[in-house]
């Protein structure tokens, strides 16, 4: 129980690669919530959310890489 409390009391310390990975659960949450509200049939939600999740993650990382390339060219 005290471990659980400590989990919320003490801020986490994330390495750089862990910070990058934090995009994944957030995008998954966005995809699942969006598809849960949009899909007419509940059984369609898992597949639709998965496709949406992959699309968002790939899109976000591509945008990130693109911005990094522009930054390297300009700087």
């Amino acid at each position: 129980m005290s471990d659980m409390l400590a989990l919320f009391l003490q801020p986490a310390s994330l390495a750089r690669w862990q910070q990058m990975l934090m995009l994944l659960p957030l995008c998954l949450a966005v995809s699942v919530v969006y598809k849960t509200t949009k899909c007419e049939r509940v059984r369609d939600i898992p597949w639709a959310a998965l496709v949406s999740w992959v699309t968002i993650v790939v899109g976000m990382y591509l945008v990130g890489i693109g911005l990094l390339v522009v930054y390297e060219l300009v700087a």
Binding site: L9, Q10, L14, Q19, M22, I45
Partner: protein, 155 residues
């Protein structure tokens, strides 16, 4: 089993479902009888919100004095944000020099605030969805198809 909302008129059902959704994201869907959707939404929003709180620490993730604009997003997550605020107020501030034991700085702070604020934004979507569903309840898929009308002048 009938949902508790089935006996209420739509003019009351919608606002009650909306308020429940604000208080606990997904609870409005449970109220109107969308059990699976409600459970999915409760689990996803709760996990995401408290993941953000765990990253940034409960003391400083929701901080209306320092980040009021982000707070506008966070407060849309309703009960989660109120609970975080209540816990935060009951935790004493860390002594000078030991702030990092309770307060996140830098990227961790940003990630925690973004996580919780996005939960609030997603809950706006959930509230609109439950308002629409409460107004126009869908016909269950298991109900029998209505009988065909006879053709006019049929032969």
């Amino acid at each position: 089993m009938k949902s508790p909302a089935a006996t209420l008129p739509p003019s009351i059902r919608g606002p009650v479902a909306g308020f429940l959704s604000w208080l606990l994201p997904g609870a409005g869907h449970l109220f109107i009888g969308e059990r699976v959707r409600g459970i999915i939404l409760i689990v996803v929003i709760t996990l995401t919100f408290w993941t953000g709180v765990a990253i940034g620490g409960v003391k400083n993730t929701v901080n209306p004095e320092q980040r009021w604009l982000w707070f506008l997003g966070q407060i849309c997550a309703g009960g989660h944000t109120l609970a975080t605020l209540a816990i935060s107020h009951n935790i004493p501030s860390p002594p000078p020099g030991l702030e990092t034991t309770r307060i996140a700085y830098g990227r961790e702070e940003e990630i925690s605030v973004v996580y919780t604020a996005i939960c609030g934004m997603l809950n706006i979507l959930i509230i609109f969805d439950v308002l629409v569903r409460a107004e126009h309840p869908t016909v269950p898929a298991t109900s029998p198809a209505p009988p065909r009308a006879p053709k006019a002048g049929g032969s």
